[in-house]
Amino acid sequence: MLETGDLKRIEQKAFRHTLQDGLVELTAGVYLVILAGFLQFTGGVVVALALFFLIGVPLVRHLKNRVTYPRIGYASFAQGDPGKLGLFMLGFLLLGLAAMVTVLVITGDISVARKWYRWMPIFIGIVLSGGFIGLAAISGLVRLWVYALFSVGLGVAWSIPRFEPRMENISFYLLSMGLFLIPWGLILFVLFLRRYPAPAEETSHDVE
């Protein structure tokens, strides 16, 4: 405990502890599939985004309160420096944009606006990978680095085929990324439930 590294390891271990339920993967996966559906069948994402904040976030919180915390306990972590977080996210947004523009220039599609949609999966893949990398940096979980790599790889893969109408690439990317995360989340969730059976009583433990 004498070195800053020791505290960092404690923090990582504590954060990893809270991620072992697989709910991040499960809810992200389900949400991406829903988003793909909205995009494909309605063409709009505003409702999907609203659903995420109005239903998705409270639902995850509810599941954590009812399923996760009674089994492994509750901890809240400091939000972190908002400036640093903002810069981190902005960095990945710009990286994604740069990658997409580079590809557009190389392929000559930059002059045709409707062709930009084809390469959007690369942008989305890089931005999503930023989220996974951020979580990986805090928790030290290897599987998050795998998700990040897969996210980028899938983005490239779904940018190659030419689809009509133009949103198909994006929809397929979101759908496949969601279908990749859901089984992971389910497996982790089942393993979590087996490792930590339901507590005998739903009461907190008091300091005696």
Binding site: M1, L2, H205, V207
Partner: protein
């Protein structure tokens, strides 16, 4: 610094060690609470590997020393006892760290 002055400094550093923090279990508890905003008893139980009675006893000592604060709240009708390190607890941990580093640095090669 003469060797006797060295010894005096070493003895003083040793006697200045905060015995509340110095106990390994309490040091781990404080370390955990240092890196989180708050945590409940079950979380600390899982992270420390202590028994319930042991953890309770250590938390009581830390609370009596003013290093840890205990708050009770309800979340979705489930009572939750949250523990937080106090500013005094943070200072105590940092002072302990500096004190131990000093002692280790003063060790002869």
């Amino acid at each position: 610094m003469t060797s006797s002055e060295h010894e005096d400094d070493g003895s003083r550093a040793t006697t200045d060690i905060d015995r509340v923090v110095h106990e390994p279990a309490r040091l781990l508890i404080l370390g955990l609470l240092y890196v989180v905003e708050s945590a409940d008893f079950l979380f600390l139980l899982n992270q420390t590997g202590l028994t319930k009675g042991n953890l309770s006893s250590h938390l009581s000592k830390l609370e009596d020393a003013g290093y840890v604060q205990v708050n009770k709240e309800f979340v979705e009708k489930i009572p939750r006892t949250l523990l937080r390190i106090t500013p005094k607890g943070r200072e105590a941990l940092q002072a302990y760290r500096q004190g131990m580093m000093q002692i280790l640095e003063d060790l002869p090669d």
